[in-house]
Symmetry: C3
Subunit: 200 residues, 3 copies
């Protein structure tokens, strides 16, 4: 089980870093800028969570595997930049499992710090999605997750379901339920163009 | 007295969240984005203060009333979006009393952490106004308080006056002096188009 | 030696604050905005480093000299705004020595918190350059250091060289090596238009 979590954690870091590196290349950043944008996308959400709950030094600083994973992702993006269209499906898959898992890991860390259920669900969502918010702010665009697609909302739903099922069915089943739910929500959201329009 | 502070605190949170929600709606954010923008506007300044002085978990996470107040404000904004022109005056009033009070509460928290008077006044101002800075950055606009109106400066003046009068006249009188001063500065600043132009 | 460090520290703060104040004036900020932009440019990088490692209250809050240095820099910028073209060379000199020194001071602080070499080098670079990133985000422009000039990369190289030479040659020699290296890299980068292009 721990191996499963670790694998997804690094795979998620890799995929998130690619999304940051691609955004940096689109903005004509230089190699340093592309690396930093990959890094903040991959670790920004967890960093914000750690700062808000006061868990410092923030977690990615305590294990160099994260920055080397980001470095590998940036090199990978550079080498295969012309093939990303074909990789779309695998990236969607890893990204979705990634945000679901990060939501749960973030939520569990917040629970450990004795915070209320509502705040823990929010911190789970923040861990999973605010790396992308920082990526967008640093590349001069309005954060995507505030605009379209049901992305962060899927994390909130997944987090709530995990909290509800975790104690009854155990951690593994709770994770499975949450990950599958996040996946299904995102899958249908993209397929059927669901959105949370706020107009009357 | 504590009841007065609590009332203003939640009323201020409500009004700040409305200002964030309105900014989000203007940017065509979806329901999630509008909520997040309301939230960061309401709690962003205090969060930054808490992070800088190292008071974690940050304060709004320790009391769920804040997020429910923000949620209520977002729903309120949605329902009454067409009537906000008429509500302008009440909003100006609550916003002004809000920033004055947040300045003092932030300043007092910083004093409690043993920081110097200058830093405490700055942290008071940060508590009161940097939620709006984060709102503007996240919605892709250059922060309003750096540009026009005497807004943050009124907080600095109010904070200094509170520090000066607090010890002589007591906390309640100090608060009254500071709140009235901030109100008068903002009132005349808006009326007479005062500004802190930086051209020679 | 300590006097040398202190002198550079305040001179660096002064020069960084000028760069922020100039950016604020370019954006038509008012006096308050210009001051805040000078402040975040001067202290933003060290603040981010302190937050990430959990050293709070952040360092500039524990010594009011920093905010008065920033205030002096803002007034200086206001008075001499028409003469900055002629001051370019001195500013380049102080800025370069400044980022080299900040890299080393940041790196040493991170080492003191028991972090790995890679992370310490990164935190050194963050201390030296992320004030400029925050300046750019707050003034609505995409961060310059992600785009052109070998700026942050010079800090990374300087940091690595300091780590390598520090233990063999002693702290003073290590600093000298790092500062001279950063200076030479930046000097030739500007002269010969070096860049870290990321296109294939």
């Amino acid at each position: 089980m721990d191996l499963f979590i670790l694998t997804i954690d690094y795979a998620g870091t890799f995929v998130f870093a690619i999304s940051g590196a691609l955004a940096g290349m689109k903005q004509q950043f230089d190699a340093f800028g592309v690396f930093i944008l990959g890094l903040v996308t991959a670790i920004g959400g967890g960093t914000l969570r750690d700062l808000l709950i006061g868990s410092t030094p923030v977690s990615w600083m305590q294990n160099t595997t994260y920055i080397y994973t980001v470095l590998a992702a940036v090199v990978f993006t550079y080498l295969f930049q012309k093939h990303f269209r074909r990789l779309r499906r695998s990236m969607f898959l890893f990204d979705t499992i990634g945000i679901a898992l990060y939501t749960i890991l973030g939520l569990q860390k917040a629970l450990f710090f004795g915070l209320s259920a509502e705040i823990c669900v929010m911190l789970g969502m923040v861990s999973a999605t605010f790396g992308g918010v920082i990526r967008d702010v640093l590349s001069g665009t309005v954060p995507l997750i505030f605009r379209k697609e049901i992305y962060a909302s899927a994390c909130l739903v997944g987090g709530i379901l995990f909290l509800l099922t975790d104690q009854w069915l155990g951690e593994v089943a709770g994770m499975a339920v949450a990950i599958i739910t996040v996946f299904l929500i995102r899958f249908f959201a993209v397929r059927r163009h669901w959105s949370l329009s706020f107009k009357r």
